[in-house]
């Protein structure tokens, strides 16, 4: 008993000594604390109208400022402080910034700029300021172009601002190719459309004489792969966006090809080919047209998508009895199933960052857009509705655009976007309906 008590006493003494030592040590250095909880809210910013530095550039400078503000606010990560609340006005691009005035309205970021027009030549310059640090974020930049491309120059400024604040690339100077849909469900006209990411500058690449499906941008954004029923069979075509010239990728008699997608280097295309009632994955060299079989089995295997490094392919297959996601080497071979939850998984797309795979999930009569790690872990469903499908990644891997169709005979398809965190779900502003979007890389 005496020994137990002595041991207990010694333990207390040693513990006390250790604690006292720790306290003494903590007092010698700086005060150290750890913060593990923050707030999730948009960052307030201000974009006073860019200074019109030449006569006649007043309106275009205002328009450019508005597009920049809309780009940033549209991410859900930023909140614009309206001009009515501004205390200071920027009348000279070179003037020092009165940070106190912007602090007073809680603007954490400030974008100042100037616009000058000479003939059809447009010059836009800008700076980004960290108001509370009283410092400029990066250096000022100047863009030169034509007045026709003023929206694109505004998107470029917004991309630079986004990048300097978030540390990631932007996605504003990008385009989306999609299937434009008009008319009722039983007589719907479909044609390929291309537009800016925000719905502006819409153009059509095909007419509505034939059904078109699943357009996909090339890594350069200059070509588009798509599937057309022009001949009665689904066949894959490659179109040059600038000239609208096209060629068929697979014209073997008696075969159907669909669901094409470029490899990251743009030299090959992976697609599904149906021969003799069996659908497998093939890889085709774009230059030579030579085809290599990647899978060989009785199951339906489709919707392939390369990893950003081009070494792996994720695809959907019903080889296990239900539609699930699998990953295999880009050269084919044994595939590993990565989806493990309830329901059916389809249309997987590898993130440009390489860390996530977006997919469509059908479970209990509902459709979802979700993301998971490339090994199938950490599955998160971002949306839920009557019909959500066909995700595509923004070039920075931060936003997913997809198709949402409403219920009923009068249901319409529209394009929606959602942040990878599941926030900021919104409909893409565009005329008419649309489906099957594919996001281009940054221009």
């Amino acid at each position: 008993m005496t020994r137990v008590f002595a041991n207990f006493l010694m333990g207390l003494i040693l513990l006390g000594a250790a604690t006292a030592g720790g306290v003494a040590q903590a007092q010698n250095g700086p005060l150290r604390i750890e913060i593990t909880e923050g707030v999730i809210e948009p960052l307030p910013f201000a974009v006073p109208d860019f200074v019109a530095e030449t006569p006649g550039s007043n309106q275009i400078s205002k328009d450019i400022s508005r597009v920049i503000a809309e780009d940033l606010s549209g991410t859900g990560l930023f909140r614009e402080i309206p001009a009515q609340a501004h205390i200071s006005t920027i009348t000279n691009f070179a003037s020092p910034v009165q940070f106190a005035d912007w602090k007073a309205i809680n603007a954490q970021a400030l974008i100042t700029g100037g616009v000058s027009v000479s003939g059809n030549q447009l010059e836009v310059k800008f700076r980004v300021w960290d108001v509370f640090a009283g410092q400029e974020l990066g250096n000022g930049l100047r863009f030169k172009g034509t007045t026709d491309g003023w929206r694109r120059m505004a998107h470029k400024v917004a991309d630079a601002v986004y990048s300097r604040i978030t540390g990631e690339g932007g996605y504003f100077d990008s385009r989306v190719v999609f299937v434009s849909e008009t008319g009722p469900k039983n007589d719907r006209k479909k044609r390929l459309g291309i537009m800016d990411y925000d719905g502006a500058n819409l153009q059509y690449l095909t007419d509505s004489s034939a059904i078109v499906l699943a357009p996909r941008f090339s890594p350069t954004g200059k070509e588009v792969l798509y599937t057309s029923y022009e001949t009665g069979f689904p066949q894959v075509y490659l179109m040059d966006v600038a000239s609208v010239r096209r060629k068929v990728m697979s014209d073997e008699v008696g075969t159907m090809s669909f669901a094409p997608r470029f490899s990251p280097d743009g030299k090959s295309v992976v697609m599904s080919v149906t021969e003799g009632g069996n659908t497998d994955l093939y890889r085709m060299d774009v230059a030579s047209g030579q085809r290599t079989r990647l899978t060989n089995g009785p199951a339906i295997e489709t919707a392939p998508s390369f990893s950003p490094d081009g070494t792996r392919i994720v695809f959907e297959s019903d080889r296990s009895g239900s539609q699930q996601l699998y990953v295999m080497a880009a050269s084919g071979g044994e595939a590993t199933r990565i989806s493990s939850g309830q329901g059916r998984y389809g249309t997987p797309v590898w993130s440009p960052r390489g860390d996530l795979i977006a997919f469509t999930k059908q479970n209990k009569g509902r459709f979802h857009i979700g993301v998971m790690r490339t090994d199938g872990s950490e599955e998160r469903l971002l949306t839920a509705s009557f019909l959500d499908e066909g995700p595509t990644w923004a070039p920075n891997g931060r936003v997913i655009m997809f198709t949402r169709e409403t219920r009923g005979a009068d249901g319409v398809s529209a394009l929606y976007s959602v942040d990878v965190s599941g926030r900021n779900l919104k409909r893409v502003r565009m005329n008419g309906g649309g489906s099957d979007p594919s996001w281009s890389p940054l221009q």
Binding site: I13, Q27, L31, E70, A85, G134, K144, E168
Partner: protein, 360 residues
């Protein structure tokens, strides 16, 4: 000599008389109030009950209408983009590539004298919170009467017990002593209650009625010597080490160390301004920043990045900027820290760890 007998007899006679004719001392009984009880009908009773019912709570309370802020959203003058209809692929207008912008670095503007006078916050001189007492007075525990409600006055010097009552003789006012002074005596008798003597400090004595501390039991003599003398040496060494280390900790140069609450106050103040973009790569970065505070609790000099882990350089830079904004935004007129411990919070290092935020 017979005065005692006479008094005793008279008292007994009075007592017997009171017992026999006690009624003559009894007070008259109080008059009774008589009230008629009326019989009421069921309807009257129901009406009476209705009248006594509690008022019905009004459910439809008019909600005050919050006036809408008169902040007009700026109209975006974005022209509608007319769709360009391409009749056939051959006739489709080719999208002309935009002119590639020329990106070139620009020189920073010439530094000029800028009067960035921070807005002065008018702080009331008198802290209204100071009028509230910091601590309520602790109620004094009063002892419950245990023997007698009030102590009696201390008696005169004890009366000598004797068979007869004898009054003490006192000196004559005129100073002429008629007889020799005698001691006062009285017969032994019982009291109706136990009276206590008044005490010099009743409050304190009562409060300290309970033992202030327990008596430590005496240790028993050790029957045999300790088999492990090394243990005593270890204990002694640990005690010495602890005392050596506690000595400087007891009186650090900057006063006592910050309490957990004071540290939490600073932590909460900063985290309220730490905006985390949970979907960005910066949310994978744990960044540590260091800075100095002046005695008013405001950041002095630059905030520097001490370390970052979990992301590339761009993500670390973004994480550092978010941390810096958090520290600078929430300092306002200075972080609330005890001035007497200034040496302990002059230099601060804060680690921003967004791991928990990524799950939200």
């Amino acid at each position: 000599m017979h005065i005692g007998h006479y008094i005793s007899g008279a008292a007994h006679a009075g007592l017997i008389g009171w017992v026999l004719v006690g009624d003559v001392f009894r007070a008259d009984p109080p008059p009774l109030e008589v009230t008629d009880v009326a019989v009421i009908s069921t309807e009257e009773f129901a009406a009476l009950q209705r009248a006594q019912q509690a008022p019905v709570t009004e459910t439809e309370v008019a909600v005050p209408v919050i006036p809408e802020a008169e902040v007009e959203t700026p109209e975006v003058a974005t022209p509608e983009d007319a769709p360009v209809d391409v009749p056939t692929p051959e006739a489709a207008a080719a999208a002309e590539p935009d002119t590639t912008p020329d990106l070139s670095d620009m020189a920073a503007p010439e530094p000029q004298d800028v009067t960035d006078a921070a807005p002065v916050l008018i702080t009331p001189e008198v802290d209204t919170a100071a009028v509230v007492p910091e601590r309520a007075p602790r109620p004094v525990v009063r002892p419950a009467p245990r023997v007698a409600p009030e102590p009696v006055a201390q008696p005169e010097p004890d009366t000598t017990i004797a068979d007869e009552v004898q009054e003490a003789t006192r000196p004559d006012a005129r100073g002429e002593a008629a007889e020799k002074p005698k001691e006062e005596t009285a017969p032994e008798a019982a009291s109706t209650e136990i009276a206590t003597e008044p005490k010099a400090e009743p409050e304190e004595k009562a409060a300290s009625a309970a033992p202030s501390r327990s008596v430590r039991p005496r240790t028993r003599p050790v029957a045999r010597p300790d088999p492990a003398p090394a243990r005593e040496a270890a204990v002694a060494a640990a005690l010495k080490e602890a005392s050596d280390q506690q000595a400087p900790a007891a009186r650090p140069p900057g006063g006592p160390p910050l309490t957990r609450g004071e540290k939490d106050g600073l932590r909460v103040a900063v985290q309220n301004c730490w905006v985390v973009d949970v979907g960005s790569r910066a949310a994978d970065v744990t960044v540590t920043v260091g800075f100095s505070l002046d005695k008013s609790g405001k950041v002095q000099g630059d905030i520097r990045m001490i370390g970052a882990s979990g992301g590339d350089e761009a993500a670390a830079t973004s994480a550092f900027q978010a941390a810096r904004r958090a520290v600078l935004r929430c300092q306002k007129s200075g972080y609330d820290l005890p001035i007497e411990k200034y040496d302990n919070w002059r230099d601060v290092e804060i680690t921003f760890n967004p791991e928990n935020m990524r799950r939200k």
